[in-house]
């Protein structure tokens, strides 16, 4: 079968570098539009909650950040596994690029959750199954990042990182189902595909807009970081040298310093 396009066209670092660079501004545009819309609906349209007052407004960033922390872990493990199984260098580089962003969203899920837990539960932190498994997720990201930076040979580091990422991925369903499997202080899922949402539609709208914004953010930053990683790794390739030459600012914007 002949495909109308080449499936692995963008698996070449040089082509990926160009494509990612072209996509970054669009990702930022989507982030800005959906972020502003989400915050507007969340702060100026969604009503004050009857039981939690305005403290509940943390949900608009807490739930999207927690979703991103889990999704990005699976994305990282997926590309790390592909990079290992098929000896695909670019896939391993993308896995490396995803990790810091995933770790940041995990931190934000914990941080915003803590700032929500204090006024509603009376404690910044409890050793509840949901909170504990999310904290383990942060340690798994940290483990992946430390192991790839501890091994000098980049491909060996990629494989060791992939092993950590794949084994750690069992934690993601544990986080997701923790509120069902254990009797947790943390509330159950706010949104599910099988039941009606347990909140006002404006609240749900804001949360979903913020989720799209966070997705776009993650794409933008991961593309930016992958471009840096690709250049660092391919630093002996002619295309990378050409990219560096092309990256020079035009004379006009450099002012009179010549």
């Amino acid at each position: 079968m002949k495909l109308p396009f080449r499936l692995f066209h963008f698996a070449a670092p040089a082509r990926f570098y160009g494509l990612a660079g072209a996509l970054v501004p669009w990702c930022w545009a989507v982030f800005a539009v959906f972020g502003v819309a989400g915050l507007f609906v969340g702060f100026f349209r969604a009503p004050t909650d009857a039981t939690q007052g305005d403290a509940y407004r943390i949900i608009f960033i807490h739930v999207p950040a927690a979703w991103m922390s889990m999704v990005l872990y699976m994305v990282m493990a997926f590309w790390a596994a592909i990079g290992w199984a098929f000896n695909a260098r670019l896939a391993s580089m993308v896995a490396r690029a995803v990790a810091p962003t995933g770790a940041m969203f995990t931190f934000l899920a914990l941080w915003t959750g803590s700032f929500w837990g204090k006024p509603t539960w009376g404690a910044w932190w409890v050793w509840d199954a949901r909170l504990t498994s999310e904290l383990i997720l942060l340690f798994l990201y940290a483990g992946f990042l430390s192991i790839i930076s501890a091994i000098d040979d980049p491909r060996r580091a990629d494989r060791a990182g992939a092993l950590v990422a794949i084994i750690g991925s069992v934690n993601v369903p544990i986080i997701y189902f923790s509120v069902k499997w254990w009797n947790t202080l943390h509330q159950g899922a706010s949104v599910s595909l099988t039941t009606a949402p347990k909140m006002a539609s404006t609240m749900l709208t804001s949360m979903l807009l913020m989720t799209i914004a966070f997705w776009a953010y993650a794409f933008a930053v991961v593309f930016m970081r992958s471009r840096a990683i690709v250049l660092e790794r391919d630093n002996h390739a002619q295309w990378a040298a050409n990219a560096a030459l092309g990256a020079r600012r035009p004379m006009a914007s450099r002012g009179m310093q010549t």
Binding site: F44, A55, I58
Partner: protein, 54 residues
């Protein structure tokens, strides 16, 4: 309209510290991370011989 004044908005019904503490740190993280990623990219370009990379 939910809020009658700007101060009511910032007070968040008495939960201002928690709401803005959560949002403030999130905003700070989302501002710092792209700056770091951009710096790393520029560093990679400089290492390849680019002067004053855009």
């Amino acid at each position: 309209m939910i809020w009658n004044s700007a101060s009511e908005f910032f007070a968040m019904g008495g939960y201002g510290l928690y709401v803005w503490g959560a949002y403030g740190v999130t905003l700070a993280c989302l501002l710092v991370e792209p700056v770091l990623a951009r710096a790393r990219h520029r560093q990679a370009l400089r290492a390849l011989g680019a002067e004053d990379p855009a």
